[in-house]
């Protein structure tokens, strides 16, 4: 059953998710002005799945049930599915100009599906069967699942078992007949509060000493012992201002990250997908990271499309649109953005079937994709700031633009003064110009910069993580042979 966006919001109201923010428990987090924009982003992934103009990307036929499901819950059955995933993410980025939070779950599904198959083959466990049943439940109910990998990690120089505080990596605290009890936390969890379920994976490859940390499982977001602490974003409290609109830049949409704490949470056997088989932790991490590095070749490109459009409008409104360097900067932004898309499409087109049957991306190309994502969005926003001019960070508030307060010698109001001095091209009103500049402020250095900049840097792994994979996959020896052949070296 495909839920509508409104049904999704209502389904969240039925959950008892525990959320803390600014030192308080937030009971009605669904309507909280700081949280709601991020929920609207997830809602968009439901609404688009009902719109005939987007259905071809937003839905797929489940290989598990034969039913039409939201593509975010789908196991990729071909390279065409992998390409459509990237296109869907671009679309969602265009419609929200934010992180829409549903990719981590999709990437986790595909990674856990293929990894559990291989664990069972080697260890005789039944994790794959557990996971298939779980995914059917997710697909049938069109649920949002947070794919949770990143642990707090404490001292980065120490392995999980060597940390002073064992809880700095999520671990199995107790094994029981009917399940396990887990303790620890997951950091930076995108959309965790907006999720019905959590799918937990280990954060890195593990050795024998770390086997208690080699654990993967699923649980409802409101399971006993689980709670979340909302992560604040730059300029976030603007959303709490009365009648906040123009100053927000992106009034309706935004991202969300939280700390998710597992305070002795019981996980029944049928929701366990890895339990101490430490030699498979690395495989799971590598597969998830591979998919997630592909994802960024779609979602950030969609957001980039909106930024390029905003920069072009800012140039129109400023009256600088005919300048050759402005045109060239827009070309450069487009070139960078489409290069990211090329990488997303390329690693998808070169995908291959796993032993379990779902399709995996080409790992080298996906890592190249994400490495570019750690750089190009920064250059894109640099160029956007160049085109926008300084006003994007110095203009008065929208209250001033609407104020009746008389401030001039001849009784001019604040609104009149602001509108007089910030008028530019005849092609727009002053408020329209403010709107586009505030949008750019928000994405370049406001709350949305979390998703477009820092998430581009660290999400799916920091740049060095990709360089390690590129080094492993780069096929240097074959390249040496090519050079020897051409140079006549025996």
């Amino acid at each position: 059953m495909l839920m509508t966006g409104d049904q999704y919001i209502e389904s969240l109201r039925k959950l008892g998710t525990r959320v803390y923010m600014f030192g308080e428990k937030i009971d009605n987090w669904i309507d909280h002005p700081m949280i709601r924009p991020s929920i609207n982003c997830v809602k968009m992934t439901y609404d688009l799945a009902h719109d005939p103009q987007y259905v071809d990307l937003m839905t797929a036929k489940s290989n598990l049930t034969g039913e039409t499901v939201n593509r975010f819950g789908h196991l990729h059955q071909s390279t065409d599915d992998l390409r459509k995933k990237v296109k869907m993410q671009r679309l969602c980025g265009q419609k929200t100009a934010s992180c829409f939070q549903r990719c981590v779950g999709m990437d986790a599904f595909n990674a856990v599906f293929s990894t559990t198959f291989e664990i069972d083959k080697k260890c005789g466990t039944k994790y794959h069967e557990n996971f298939v049943e779980y995914l059917k439940y997710v697909q049938n109910n069109d649920l949002i699942v947070d794919g949770a990998m990143t642990d707090p990690k404490g001292d980065r120089g120490l392995a999980p078992h060597a940390q002073k505080d064992p809880d700095l990596f999520l671990h199995i605290k107790e094994k029981r007949e009917d399940g396990i009890v887990v303790r620890g936390a997951k950091c930076h969890q995108t959309g965790s509060i907006n999720s019905h379920e959590h799918l937990i994976m280990p954060t890195q490859a593990m050795g024998e000493d770390d086997k208690a940390y080699a654990v993967a499982f699923a649980c409802p977001s409101d399971v006993e012992g689980l709670y979340m602490v909302y992560g604040r974003q730059s300029c976030d409290t603007r959303k709490m201002e009365p009648n906040a609109d123009v100053d927000l830049g992106n009034k309706n949409f935004g991202g969300q990250e939280a700390l998710v704490v597992f305070d002795d949470v019981f996980i029944p056997n049928d929701r366990i997908f890895l339990c101490e088989e430490h030699e498979f932790a690395g495989m799971l991490v590598e597969r998830f990271a591979g998919y997630h590095r592909q994802s960024y070749g779609g979602c950030k490109v969609g957001v980039g499309d909106v930024i390029i459009g905003a920069a072009a409008l800012a140039a129109d409104y400023n009256g600088a649109n005919k300048a050759s360097h402005i045109k060239d900067k827009l070309i450069e932004m487009t070139h960078l953005n489409e290069t990211l898309y090329c990488c997303g499409i390329a690693c998808s087109a070169e995908g291959y079937p796993t032993e379990a049957g779902n399709y995996q991306i080409d790992l080298l190309l996906a890592n190249v994709c994400k490495q570019n994502v750690t750089r190009f969005p920064y250059e894109i926003v640099r160029l956007a700031e160049d085109i926008a001019g300084g006003l994007m960070v110095t203009m008065p508030s929208s209250i001033d633009f609407n104020s009746d307060l008389e401030v001039g010698r001849n009784g001019e109001t604040l609104a009149e003064v602001c509108n007089k001095f910030y008028a530019a091209s005849d092609t727009c009103t002053t408020i329209e110009r403010m709107r586009i500049l505030r949008f750019l402020e928000n994405i370049c250095l406001g709350s949305s910069a979390v998703g477009y900049r820092t998430e581009s840097m660290h999400g799916a792994g920091s740049p060095q993580a990709q360089r390690i994979m590129i080094a492993r996959q780069g096929n240097i020896n074959a390249k040496k042979e090519l050079a020897k052949e051409i140079a006549g070296i025996k």
Binding site: Q53, Y54, D56, L57, K84, K87, M88, L91
Partner: protein, 97 residues
């Protein structure tokens, strides 16, 4: 005549696909355009892509008179021509009967 319609997913369309369909509909008030669904059989299927790739899936739909793909606003005239052709064919069939 019933014409099924399938849009591509619209990740980066180079024109307004929805408006293009509206223009086609305006010229064909006698044709019943329906968003294509599996299990139905249409007289014709119109696949509206947003770019040259025109990646919309369509093999799952059945039609009596094949399909037409468009991926550019400029294709509207060709689509109109094709629909006219099918309509005349249908008329001819009815006259024979």
């Amino acid at each position: 005549m019933i014409c099924g319609v399938r849009f591509c997913g619209g990740c980066n369309p180079r024109y307004d696909r929805g408006k293009a369909l509206e223009k086609i509909k305006e010229q064909n008030k006698d044709v019943d355009f329906r968003i294509a669904e599996e299990g139905e059989t249409y007289d014709h299927l119109l696949v509206i892509g947003g770019c040259t790739n025109c990646c919309a899936s369509h093999c799952q739909f059945s039609t009596r008179e094949g399909l037409t793909k468009m991926w550019d606003e400029k294709h509207i005239n060709e689509v109109l021509k094709k629909i006219d052709e099918i309509k005349s064919k249908e008329k001819a069939k009815q006259n024979i009967k």
